[in-house]
Point group: C2
Chain length 380, copies 2
Amino acid sequence: MRNSTRSDIDPFIVMDVMEAARAAEAGGQDVIHMEVGQPGTAAPVAAREALAATLDAPLGYTVALGLPDLRAEIASLYTRWYGVSLDPSRVVVTAGSSAAFLLAFTALFDAGERVGVAEPGYPSYRQILRALSLEPVGLPTHFAEGHRLRPEALAAADISGAIVASPNNPTGTMLAHEELASLISACQDRGRAFISDEIYHGLHYGDRAVSALEISDDVYVINSFSKYFSMTGWRVGWMVVPEHHVRRIERLAQNMFICPPHASQIAALGALSADAEAELEANRAVYAANRDHVVAGLSTMGLTHFAPPDGAFYVYVDVSAWTDDSLALSQRILSEAGVAVTPGLDFDSLRGGSMLRLSYARSTADIVEGMSRLARFFAT
Amino acid sequence: MRNSTRSDIDPFIVMDVMEAARAAEAGGQDVIHMEVGQPGTAAPVAAREALAATLDAPLGYTVALGLPDLRAEIASLYTRWYGVSLDPSRVVVTAGSSAAFLLAFTALFDAGERVGVAEPGYPSYRQILRALSLEPVGLPTHFAEGHRLRPEALAAADISGAIVASPNNPTGTMLAHEELASLISACQDRGRAFISDEIYHGLHYGDRAVSALEISDDVYVINSFSKYFSMTGWRVGWMVVPEHHVRRIERLAQNMFICPPHASQIAALGALSADAEAELEANRAVYAANRDHVVAGLSTMGLTHFAPPDGAFYVYVDVSAWTDDSLALSQRILSEAGVAVTPGLDFDSLRGGSMLRLSYARSTADIVEGMSRLARFFAT
């Protein structure tokens, strides 16, 4: 059998780094993981207890849009976090933000349409768009502007819509209210769709990130239990869509997914309970300490060319003084220093050769040790 | 924001039936559920125990193709069930068969290509194909031939590939080895892709269903833990692909799904253990008893126009002597007899107006009561 051309997508370079790190560990090397974009912590105790309590019930299909209680609790999160009143009927529970991207792109764009993505940015946007016969259009952002997408760039692009993340992956930088509002206007004024990827919301080190729902109801917002709620492998997230899109999304979700994983939905309900809050805020405090340690450490190593992260758990640092081949550099760092880091090429195929992404999602002890090793590496 | 045309898909009529049944129950009516395509039983005890034992570990992302142990256990199932030796590297764990359909259609077909689907058949094939900008091509099957797709029909169609299910939903009929082999040849001889939907394997009432892997390695096989393993809401299934397709599927899966739900993969490992076998075979014995009761009961009601099901837990019965509006009839059966059944229109938009699908997946007590109510209804 022959394959389609649309399945001819780029490899995920971070996966090769993870495999190399695994092989190094299997060979007896001690590796500090600063490549992985996921918490080292388990789902909150309240989430696991909620699931344990229902494990003997038949966990059959739920309705396609998700458990009504979970949709209601997610809606009330918007009041708590942003002061936004949100009708639960607009909340769509999904199998992680991955399923939300598939639903959003399918609901909004027909084959051949062009969709804007910021560069550097989450690499799967491009690959999912291609798999859906859509054309990703890279919109470069710049260090001098904190890697914030400029509304003029969005307005000038020949696109049917765009997806924008704040906090951004890999830079951790956030958009202020008026910056996000300008981007939304740049799309809405031209009849284009705007998708706001808010998967790192909850993980901020100054002001809370602004949700697109504070600005407009005529947007798609995508979020997940993976990051702040420490539930990556559970594959449960959500989307908020305009009221008149709900029925269409429901039909797509019924057919494409039937429903999000039932057990994960129950665990997610636990993660939203008041019992989980202290644990999740303690996790955030760890990331905040890690962030400060990484930011200070990089500067003492002479790695000063990075935008200070406002949220998420990444820093995206310029290593052009060392290399224009960040993949080779990351391989040297792994083998010589025992630290796994991600080359920038996944996030920006043009300029990522001189960039590395460091993740500080693991324990502070790990991050302290990882930064010491990096300091020795870059001192030699 | 405007919507895409490809998201303009048909409603799932069974969902409306389920909603009407829910409303009737909320209003105090006792309803027997013969509309739902899922077991009433929970996941096997061994599956739930496996998960309970690991619930305190961080269930992070797994590798995209699934837990290596699970892939190995699925491969060994092919030896136990079919005597086929299968390399675990060809097994792709998916978020239910839904994710497998998305991966298979994306990997094999480009936008605008035509894909054959048997009619009557699983309605989501058509809707997923449309959402992926593909064109479903209905290939009618006939009662007189047990709703088995004829290889001549497949050969004559202008298509790039086809998806075929045995046992079929909604008819429960199966293809013999030589029938399935003829269908595979009809595709392979013309350079077309063949996808075998084997989601109801394990649920047979005579000989075991034949897997396409007994015939050829150059096919995609899709299966799931939902039906035989009684794990619908867990969203975990699998796909077997030709060796030279694995790397491409891996890249698609990494980007489109990251990984299948980790907790569900652990539960699935438990469901494949020897401990679960007696429980699952006991479930199958219940379906077998239900099947015999339904087949005998329909005949005494004068509803004799159906193909005796070989597998799955459905019977697809002709009610043309009563109506050409099966949706209205199913609404009457719900309100007057208190039995929820599925109109055939979901499975066959042209001829389904005179057909009903009955599911016998619930307990025998439920099925006995449901059939008594149907007997009274059809006697009036």
